[in-house]
């Protein structure tokens, strides 16, 4: 059964997420300097690895690096609307925006939450929705658990791939944890004191 929540309901997933091929060793770069970490943080995919990525037929979500490096090859499929892009948590939405004329030609952008406590995706989603005007599906993938769904929704996600070992059914309820948030965000840009006359 599908574990995908989209627009407030559990739906079948018509997309295939394309991962990087497994490599023997994942190297976590110990960033020596913050300025360096800002750009890289984690070992970026090598050209060889990018070239190795197998892209199946149908609707697929490819890594940002693959999207950028193999754009010519993917061009007809992009035009056909069957290419989505996923970003790792250290990748910058600006790099995606810079690599495409109109961000809304992408039917789907997915953002990976490598760990429950990594909140970079909240800013990334906010930027995509506000600064870059992205209107299509924005999907949270990775360590996606119900207790962050409300925050994800507020930051502009509209689809959540709930971690496989958890119930999407249970997670649905958490989207309504709070009824009137204090501050403005993507889903409701006005703070509560601009929405309502308060005593």
């Amino acid at each position: 059964m599908s574990n995908l929540i989209k627009n407030g309901a559990i739906v079948a997933d018509t997309w295939t997420l394309v991962p990087y091929p497994a490599i023997d060793e994942t190297v976590q770069k110990q960033a020596g300097k913050v300025v360096q970490f800002k750009v890289t943080g984690t070992e970026a995919a090598s050209p060889e690895l990018i070239a190795q990525v197998q892209i199946p037929a149908g609707q697929v979500i490819v890594p940002l690096t693959v999207f950028r490096a193999r754009k010519d090859e993917l061009a007809p499929r992009i035009a056909a609307g069957e290419i989505g892009v996923w970003l790792e948590s250290f990748e910058l939405v600006e790099d995606l925006v810079a690599s495409i004329d109109d961000i809304n030609t992408l039917p789907l952008i997915a953002y990976d939450f490598p760990k429950f406590v990594d909140g970079r995706g909240f800013s990334a989603a906010t930027l995509l929705r506000t600064r870059y005007g992205y209107k299509n599906e924005l999907r949270a993938i990775g360590d996606v658990l119900r207790d962050k769904l409300y925050f994800m929704k507020r930051c502009g996600f509209d689809a959540y791939q709930i971690r496989a070992d958890r119930s999407a059914e249970d997670a649905l309820a958490s989207l309504r944890d709070f009824s009137e948030p204090y501050q403005g965000a993507v889903d409701e840009p006005l703070p509560v004191w601009r929405r309502h006359a308060r005593a």
């Binding site: 429950f116 909240f122 925050f151 204090y182 403005g184 308060r198």
Partner: protein, 561 residues
């Protein structure tokens, strides 16, 4: 003070329901320890050495008497009849049962309180001056803006999982009693030459493992922009702060690595998009919240009371208490009163449920039903008439709340330390007690004058040892507890970080070391020269020489640290 409307109340009620379900799922085995941890932490629940510890928010340190009574009731019903006031104006329960914590939150919600974001990697309780609204040197009462910031930061979705914790302090007085320069963001509200309210924004300060004094990122931000500007700072931090090493994840490390100019450039670029957006504050909203903080209905009094003068002249103990525990008030005939939670033999900052009830009664009787918590871990009745001070003092003294030691050597800032905290390397409460016992002669303490001694049981520096005139840090050496002494730290407008004097000491030696440091001060001071001035004038050498013996030996020993 601020009162919840339906929106505030609904948020805390919904939070109780959400947390109750999270706890239920954890106890039912549906959530792993690792998954429950960030959830409970965002609600102030730590799993400690003995039991869970629950930290309850006291926003900007302000409490109503009915809230304090509820805190007392919780201490009796769910804990062991006492609680601990922390250095961030919060209150901590050391012995609740995990199963009871949802009920405790429901009790808190019934008096407009919560434990939201008192821990975890999010925006924490907003702190401010304990004399806000009454201090004669106040430029702007910061409480309305602190409340606006509290609401804005509560469940802010974009900043719900920051690289590390994030502390904001607000000051509106000439003298900085909120230590804004050692916060992730320090907001200093002031008036510019045209009389307009502006904010001096400090960023990147903090204590902990790597103490750094904050830098000014904006000199005079018009107050309407305070939220959008803070959001710009937080967004840059959320995206680019380090997440690979928890010890290097605070914003101070990012600011230092980029340099304040480059960091400011990024923030300003970000801010350009949100400036004047819907997050911009309006005069109407400031007025709405400020209406909760209008001055009390003070009586018109002379700033002198013959009966009071007579009592002060004839009761030396009362006079001593007046000198140390009462503070000037902007309204004639009133004083602010500090009730000391630093009685010898009691863990600094601890109060029993009975004491809390007594303080609540005192607040009702003498101080418009309100009180404050200071980051020095004492309680404050901010609005007491001169004529009421003697009666108040007698009640407080009988309750063990009138030790006349505010600002003195025994008014120790101290974290819970190794007795309770699972992060601690060493105990801190017994060290504080040993020092209080050593210096129990009030005349001598009075003669020594203002000395701030701060103790932390580990590098996380909850006891603010970096900014103590004398700082004590518990360290772990080969599995046993040692204490490193530092000198020359200070808080306030001239915030400085203390320097370590040399190798660490065993617990039993600490009182002797402090005595030697005090001896040097007494010998070297000129006239009324305060301790911190002597340290600044002489440097560390004479203190080191006394503590470690001849300088040559000290050097050799230093090398062994």
């Amino acid at each position: 003070m601020y009162r919840y409307d339906q929106y505030d109340q609904r948020i805390v009620d919904e939070r109780v329901a959400q947390y109750r379900d999270q706890t239920r799922r954890y106890l039912a085995g549906e959530l792993s320890d690792d998954e429950f941890r960030p959830l409970r932490l965002q609600n102030g629940l730590y799993i400690q050495r003995q039991a869970p510890m629950l930290r309850v928010a006291i926003p900007y340190g302000l409490l109503a008497s009915r809230q304090l009574r509820k805190l007392a009731e919780i201490a009796r019903k769910f804990d062991r009849g006492y609680a601990h006031f922390s250095t961030r104006q919060n209150i901590q329960y050391n012995w609740p049962r995990l199963e009871d914590t949802p009920d405790i939150l429901a009790e808190l919600a019934s008096v407009e309180m919560h434990a939201i974001q008192t821990s975890g990697n999010c925006i924490r309780n907003i702190t401010t001056d304990q004399f806000a609204g009454v201090a004669p040197d106040e430029v702007v009462d910061p409480r309305a803006l602190a409340e606006i910031l509290r609401q804005w930061s509560t469940f802010h979705p974009e900043f719900a999982a920051l690289p590390r914790k994030f502390k904001i302090a607000v000051n509106g007085a000439q003298s900085d009693r909120a230590v804004v320069r050692v916060h992730d963001i320090g907001l200093e509200f002031l008036r510019n030459e045209a009389g307009e309210l502006v904010v001096k924004v400090w960023v990147g300060g903090g204590l902990g493992r790597t103490p750094i004094i904050g830098q000014v990122i904006h000199d005079a931000l018009p107050w309407q922009h305070v939220i959008t500007y803070c959001e710009a700072i937080l967004r840059v931090y959320n995206r680019y702060g380090r997440r690979d090493n928890a010890y290097k994840a605070r914003i101070k490390i990012l600011v230092k690595a980029l340099g304040i100019e480059a960091f400011k450039h990024q923030v300003e670029e970000e801010w350009a998009f949100s400036k004047d957006g819907p997050g911009t504050l309006t005069q109407a909203e400031l007025d709405r919240v400020s209406a909760y903080f209008v001055p009390h209905a003070y009586d018109k009094l002379a700033d002198c009371d013959p009966d009071f003068n007579e009592k002060a002249a004839t009761h030396p103990a009362f006079a001593a208490w007046l000198k140390r525990c009462t503070h000037p008030h902007k309204v004639p005939g009133y004083r602010a009163v500090t009730l000391s939670l630093k009685k010898t033999g009691i863990a600094p900052g601890d109060a029993t449920a009975d004491q809390m009830d007594i303080v609540a009664n005192l607040a009702d009787q003498y101080s418009f039903g309100e009180l404050r918590v200071s980051h020095e871990q004492n309680l404050i009745l901010a609005d007491v008439k001169l004529s009421a001070l003697f009666d108040l003092w007698q009640t407080a003294r009988a309750a063990g709340l009138a030790t006349p030691n505010i600002g003195l050597l025994t008014d120790i800032i101290c974290c819970p330390g190794g007795d309770f905290c699972s992060l601690a390397n060493a105990k801190s409460i017994p060290i504080a007690q040993a020092i209080q016992e050593r210096f129990d002669n009030l005349d001598f303490l009075f003669d020594l004058g203002d000395i701030e001694l701060n103790i932390s049981g580990c590098m996380n520096s909850c006891g603010h040892h970096h900014v103590g005139h004398i700082g004590i840090l518990g360290v772990d050496k080969d599995g046993s507890e040692w204490y490193q002494i530092s000198l020359g730290g200070s808080q306030g407008n001239e915030t400085t970080l203390a320097s370590v004097i040399g190798r660490a000491f065993a617990a039993a030696d600490v009182p002797d070391v402090i005595s030697k440091i005090i001896d040097v001060y007494v010998e070297q001071r000129e006239g009324d020269e305060p301790f911190i001035d002597v340290v600044r004038r002489l440097g560390l050498d004479p203190f080191k020489a006394r503590v470690y013996g001849a300088p040559a030996t000290a050097k050799k020993e230093l090398a062994n640290v």
